[in-house]
Assembly symmetry: C2
Homo-oligomer: 234 residues x 2
């Protein structure tokens, strides 16, 4: 495998994908184009609008983007793609559309055979065993919560530490993940903004400047440093 | 109908249900006991632990609580209950358990025939047409997202205004609801903590000190004052 699973597409006060572009230039070098999967439609924008946004960012590193909606056969587009990027937005919508277009399995196969892959936010969440540690609203009912499982755990993108000054009584992210573990056993990687996972062959490494927070069932959550090998977290 | 749908069970620096107790004393007066539905299991606590917490709070106003798990037949318990309280926690788990125990319809019928009802958080979310504007994690796959529909719209409990100082790039609540409206048409009431909806016969009124934020498809979101009649919001 040859994949980057990033917590977020955009850092505060930066342009879309800005912090990742130097890495993406290397990651996608020699690729004729990158197949963009815009199904997650952030803020409800159209597939074409979203594709134009991605194309604009990638033009800065001279990489061409083609939206999957431009192809007649989505499965074939995934099979033949020289590289693939799944953008963020709503994970329920993304997963529903991956199943409806019958490309969940095709996407897994493509990544497993080594097609360079980038996921951000929802596109990273689907790299886990299931989408059940998403932060998104269930705006549509997907046929299953099962996702790609190209890492042996679940991912919580945009991981947010509890705010000690908050007076808000909604559940913290940590409480939500604890609820997940009352019914499910796989570990969860809380990936802070600016962090990503790098998949190289079968090795999974934490990248970026920050630590990640690891949640295992019936264990006290703990921090891991950047460059930690997470291949055996399962 | 005779129902209170509260955004939260607990305000900052207060005890569980503290701010609601004066209203609940009136709401549940002359009820032999209140049937408690603890299925949402906040933080993954057990049904019995959760029931004990509710019983402790209600003991302050001399009202007895019985957990639905103490009854052999859940449907019959709902049909015969003098009053019902559904507590908060995880909405996916709550909805899954209501369906698994075959009481979603029974609960709707009981409320519609006038059984005094209290919902907090997840127990309020299910009062809407669907659970699709929950903030919770999809820790379990429910057979449907459809809920009680005792109000003609959807509810977002623990509604949180965007923080202008935040550097976090996860979606704001408003963006999430906008994504909901890209696929769904019913209005959404963003219910801030300390607010509740009072259902009296077929009238729905906003209560508490705060305004609520209303989201309608293809409209700019707007604020409504406490005591606003929301019966016709659909």
């Amino acid at each position: 495998m040859n994949a980057i699973l990033a917590s977020t597409s955009t850092l505060h006060n930066q342009e879309y994908l800005e912090y990742l572009l130097p890495h993406l230039k290397e990651h996608f070098k020699n690729c004729d184009f990158v197949l963009f999967i815009p199904y997650a439609r952030p803020g409800g924008i159209s597939l074409d609008e979203y594709t134009a946004n991605a194309a604009k960012a990638f033009s800065k590193i001279n990489i061409k983007i083609k939206g999957i909606q431009e192809f007649e056969n989505a499965a074939e587009a995934v099979q033949k793609a020289p590289a693939i990027f799944t953008g963020g937005g709503n994970t329920f919508l993304l997963v529903s559309e991956l199943y409806r277009n019958k490309i969940m399995d095709e996407l897994r196969k493509a990544i497993q055979k080594g097609t360079p892959y980038l996921g951000t936010s929802a596109g990273t969440n689907i790299g886990g065993l299931s989408m059940q540690t998403t932060n998104d609203m269930p705006i549509v009912y997907p046929p299953s919560f099962k996702t790609l499982g190209i890492v042996p755990f679940n991912i919580n993108p945009h991981y947010l530490d509890p705010d000690p000054n908050s007076k808000h009584k909604g559940e913290t992210r940590e409480t939500r993940i604890k609820e997940f573990h009352s019914l499910n056993s796989q570990p969860v990687v809380g990936l802070r903004e600016g962090s990503w996972l790098e998949l190289n062959a079968n090795k999974v490494t934490l990248k970026g400047d920050l630590k990640a927070r690891i949640f295992e069932k019936d264990k006290v959550p703990y921090e891991v440093e950047t460059e930690t090998d997470l291949s055996d977290l399962n």
